[in-house]
Amino acid sequence: MASARLDASISGLGRVGLTRTETRPAAELARQAVIAAAKDAGLAMSAIDGLVVCRSGGASDAVLGLDLQRALGLRDLKLNRIALCEGASALAAIHTASLAVSTGMARHVACVFADAPVTPGTQMRAAFGRQKTGTGMEGLRYTAGLFGGAAVHALSAQRYLALHDLGEEVLADVAITTRAWAALNPEASYRKPLTREDCAAARYIAEPLRLFDCAAPVNGAIAVVVTTGSRAAAGAQPAVPILAYAEGHPGTPDRQGFDRALTHGGATAGRAMFEATGLTPADIDICQFYDAFSIMPLLALEAYGFHAPGEARTAYAGGAAGPGGSGMPINTGGGHLSGYYLQGMTPVAEAVLQARGAAGERQRERAGTILVTNEGGRLDYHAGMILGSAEQWA
């Protein structure tokens, strides 16, 4: 039985902050981003009748919560919700909004992510180095000294390189290509081109991950407005239709015979989305992957079936995924690595800009079908979305 189709498009995009010098708290950044997204969509604030909030994994209601509604002065919302799916929360929020507009529950739903992990003037490690003790088996990672995302993703990277007999240059090529895109994006944090020599000389964070293999933390917020296709088509911006959405949460056992550190929910989500749309990996014009660490796009490329296990490096070989490259463009805004780390919203924002034809110097000619991924936990929670251009899909 065919599942009911979503009738949802992204009609507005708001970006606030995106720098290490931004000092406003997350809730205020979120408020400004929603206002910016509504304005971008050509909507009065009173037209927003739904809100889906998402936030960083460790953040509480005191940081950003349902009372964003009051801060925005929004009355009589038909939907107000917090989406919690770790790093996959942004796409999960947009999906919740898509369901709401598809079923008529709400008309224009704003989805927002905000985070302010950087205290200007302090070291980056302070951004995500929260002290934890934890409970049970997962808590043992802190006993082993494995704090922060870099340490656990280093375990995936180390195993990946060992299993396929590859060197660190495979990771460096991801960082170099992503930086090359960032050079074309005025909003990116780091824009100076990188070489393999630069990467090899960079300090280690958690081996084999070096400095340039890790995301650029910023303070900021991104919001999108989701509405139906017909309303979006009548909006102020080119509509960006949501063609498909799926999740994949492997729950892989941590024992012999299973490979939890390399098992990626994109395999499940990709299959579901390609089946639902009739599309194949060859139909995807651009990928916007969640790339908090350089290993992540490689694993996503393989999970989604673009490459066989151990072969994703060929996507980056010779700059194929970079500006002017011969292959599929990946993370055209500079991603998390060189752009800005606003978790699941970073790849969404770049996909919307490309689909609209509004990506400036880095705009791709073919940007009609764009895959966006979100990752949470240590590859535990995954969401994928395929966005389209109005030109190709309206």
């Binding site: 929260r130 934890g134 049970g136 990672r141 084999p208 056992p253 550190a261």
Partner: protein, 134 residues
Amino acid sequence: MTTQPVPEPDLASAQLLDALDEGRLDLLRCRQCGTAHLAVLVCDACGGTDFAAEQANGVGTIYSFTRTHIAHHPAFADRLPFCGGIVELTEGPRLFAPLVGEGLFAVGATVTFEPQRVESRGIAAFRLADQLPP
């Protein structure tokens, strides 16, 4: 001096963490299908809920590891860089553990269990099998 964090037990891990406090590394073997677990409420292989505790043989291999160059916690500040990873026990299950001692850690290298004390608690560290403890 701050000591390294040790997790609080939850329902699934109580047996394991209690045993570690006594210096032992214990498994919970499913009485229905024989699958070995470290922390478990329901056997994901067969659905069984009855488990027998037994001592692990203390030998495993490195599933993956990292040498960390940043201390997010004061207990690790004077150990930089230090190694931690995931060890796969011969009996099957895996756990996060500090990797201690000298030698070349590598994916697939054989390691042995080394009980360590952190104040009143016990933890499971591992050392390369060909490196004798000091």
